[in-house]
């Protein structure tokens, strides 16, 4: 006798595990980032980089500012701090000076680091405070809905520049290099392995090191500038990002529709703030 057709049990939904889950506060997931956003890739690269370095995690602290990128501080299973808007760097500076053995990483966005907190950036770089700044650059204020920021390219559209921006943007590579950063690299979220490698380098170098991550923001910047989905922006990077190590930072401008430079621009060594400070102390003590 034919019995009732057996009901097929729905396959149990098993969410994919993140390979670097051990570094994530899984209780805070899912994250708030939009589909197609580059922030997840940037964070993953950072976690892979940390894993590669194999540091004692108690020696790593992550500091973020405000904005979509600012969420990173809340997602990493590390000592972390989510500062007020623009103040990631002064907080990180204090942290480093109080605990010189810590590996201090600032993970934040272009608006946070270069508009409201811009002043702190140039001074931390000038002093050569031993820390790594990872700046995810999405060319606008994503969190608040896509307003014009200091990296918005000329003619790009934002909610506060509906017919195109007429303010010249910062070239972050050039800015970091001229302010005194000892390591400056720029990659896109498409170049995940190279980005990870750049992070490993930046993290292991002495001094103020800077990695710019060009990242899609399909919800705001991408949509308003008709760049399509996150994937389309990745295609754009594939077509327009030109790897040129050691290029003159001045030439690293980003102009929509034109090729732009990525790669490692600066990699050098010089005395860090703490080394100079200690030398001064030793000098004064020697005089006595």
């Amino acid at each position: 006798m034919p019995g009732k057709p057996k009901e097929k049990a729905a396959p149990e939904f098993v969410p994919a595990r993140h390979p670097m889950e051990k570094y994530l506060r899984t209780e805070r997931l899912p994250h708030i980032w939009c589909a197609g956003c580059g922030l997840g890739t940037a964070l993953s690269c950072f976690l892979f980089a940390l894993d590669e370095l194999g540091w004692d995690l108690d020696s790593v602290a992550v500091v973020s500012g405000i904005g979509c990128a600012g969420r990173v501080a809340g997602y990493v299973r590390l000592d972390s701090y989510h500062t007020t808007h623009g103040r990631a760097l002064p907080f990180a500076t204090g942290l480093k000076l109080a605990k010189p053995d810590l590996h201090v990483v600032v993970f934040s966005g272009d608006g946070d680091l270069f508009a409201i907190g811009g002043n702190h950036f140039i001074h931390a770089a000038r002093r050569n405070i031993d820390m790594t700044v990872i700046c995810v650059n999405n060319f606008n204020y994503g969190m608040t809905g896509g307003q014009l920021g200091p990296t918005t390219p000329l003619e790009a559209r934002c909610t506060t520049a509906p017919y195109g921006n007429f303010e010249p943007p910062f070239n972050l590579v050039y800015l970091a290099a001229s302010a005194g950063a000892t390591y400056v690299a720029r990659w896109t979220t498409l170049h995940a392995r190279r980005l990870q490698h750049a992070m490993v380098e930046a993290l292991s170098r002495k001094g103020f090191t800077f990695v710019e991550v060009i990242s899609p923001c399909p919800t705001n910047y991408g949509r308003r500038n008709r760049l399509g989905e996150g994937l389309d922006e990745m295609r754009y990077y594939a077509e327009h990002a030109v790897i040129r190590h050691g290029a003159d930072p001045k030439e690293a401008d980003i102009v929509p529709g034109k090729d732009f430079l990525i790669g490692k621009f600066v990699d050098m060594e010089k005395l860090t703030y703490l080394e100079m400070y200690r030398a001064k102390v030793a000098q004064l003590k020697g005089k006595r």
């Binding site: 405000i66 989510h82 007020t84 808007h85 623009g86 508009a115 409201i116 811009g118 204020y141 969190m143 608040t144 809905g145 307003q147 014009l148 200091p150 909610t159 506060t160 520049a161 509906p162 017919y163 303010e167």
Partner: protein, 386 residues
């Protein structure tokens, strides 16, 4: 004509009709939309305002101060941490007697970070020297943005003015708003008359020089004198606006079923709407309850509040921010107004809705229900898990 719009849109509409010369703003949740609407008006050539998308709120208020000193009519908008960052310059705007009008979309202050409504930002600006008005609805926010110009710019006042509207509750929810025709607003607001404008090169003036122990004190006293003229100007402007709009604005606060009330709540902002519902319900049951909703918070209308509350037996003052180590600032204002009065209600202070915690009709019912038994002078928390 009645329209539906969010509180943000209502504020932006008022700004469009006023068409200030300069608007300097920086994005912050929940305020950003006001800037976005306004940027669109500027981009579309609907207004001839110079919009300055600055790099922080500190710069926003600084740009406002510069533009206002140059002789421009200036407006801005912010919230929470943005207000906290610009407060240094707000004191300066007041000290320089610059009538900058600012919409403050009320939001809690960090830490911990929170984007929802309470009044900690407004309370932070309490002593900055700015006039402060609280709106209950999008309509009130719209109306007071327009009245604000006339009050702040009055030559005897000349002070910055903050119109407070509750973040999200008012800023993002769609309500019925009846804007005035553009022409009427333009006429009501009138042409801006700058005082000692920097751009008047025929009559050079210096702004913001040093004032040492020899003059500083007198200048601060003059600032207070400016504040002291606000009530009179406020009433005059309000009366004119009430006539123009046909809306019942009269006085520094709205008394709701207060005349014969035995128990009353004093409150500011959108929760007044929730409280009115409860007052109506309890009245139906024959309970003599009422409400006093403050519009003008700074300068604080002491005398009038005393008059309005003297006959009430029990008053609960509801503050949406705490003056840590003491009680709510509104409670302290109201009770200090009664300090030399024989006849006075007993007061209780409730802190409510911090960081966007919901305050429902049940909470307001609870306040009225507890009021008789409450210890005079007690500090209580509404809707808190303890």
């Amino acid at each position: 004509m009645k329209k539906t719009m969010t509180g943000h849109k209502a504020v932006a509409e008022a700004m469009r009709q006023i068409e200030p010369d300069v608007v300097a703003v920086y994005p912050i949740t929940p305020q950003s939309e006001i800037a976005e609407y306004y940027a669109q008006y500027v981009a579309d050539g609907i207004v001839h305002t110079e919009l300055v998308p600055v790099e922080s709120e500190h710069s926003a208020m600084s740009a406002c101060v510069g533009a206002a000193a140059a002789g421009a009519r200036v407006m801005t908008a912010t919230a929470s941490q943005g207000l906290a960052l610009l407060i240094e310059v707000l004191y300066i705007a007041a000290g320089l007697r610059l009538p900058i009008v600012m919409a403050l979309v009320n939001r809690a202050l960090s830490a911990p970070i929170n984007i929802h409504c309470d009044h900690a930002d407004a309370y932070l600006a309490r002593d900055a020297g700015a006039i402060q008005i609280f709106a209950e609805s999008a309509q009130e926010a719209y109306d007071y943005m327009i009245m604000a110009q006339r009050i702040a710019e009055n030559e005897r006042v000349r002070l910055p003015l903050i119109v407070n509207l509750d973040g999200f509750t008012l800023s993002h929810s769609v309500q019925v708003v009846e804007p005035l025709p553009d022409e009427e607003v333009k006429q009501f607001v009138g042409e801006f008359k700058p005082v000692y404008p920097l751009l008047d090169v025929e009559n050079p003036a210096t702004w913001g020089p040093f004032a040492m122990p020899d003059y500083y004190f007198e200048l601060k006293r003059a600032q207070q004198a400016g504040m002291e003229t606000v009530p009179e100007v406020f009433l005059k402007v309000q009366e004119e606006y009430a006539k123009l709009s046909g809306r019942p604005y009269k006085g520094f606060f709205e008394g709701y079923k207060l005349e014969d009330a035995e128990r009353a709540i004093v409150i500011m902002g959108s929760t007044a709407g929730t409280a009115k519902v409860v007052v109506d319900e309890l009245r139906k049951k024959g309970e003599k309850v009422g409400l006093l909703k403050v519009w003008l918070w700074r300068p604080f209308p002491k005398e009038e509040i005393v008059k309005a509350l003297s006959h009430v037996a029990k008053v609960a003052v509801l503050d949406r921010a705490l003056s840590f180590g003491n009680m709510g600032a509104l409670y302290l204002d109201v009770t200090s107004a009664f300090v030399h009065r024989e006849e006075r209600p007993t007061f209780v202070n409730y802190i409510y809705g911090l960081g966007g915690r919901d305050t429902t009709t049940e909470h307001i019912e609870q306040v009225f229900a507890e009021l008789d038994a409450a210890r005079p002078g007690e500090l209580r928390y509404l809707g808190l898990r303890e």
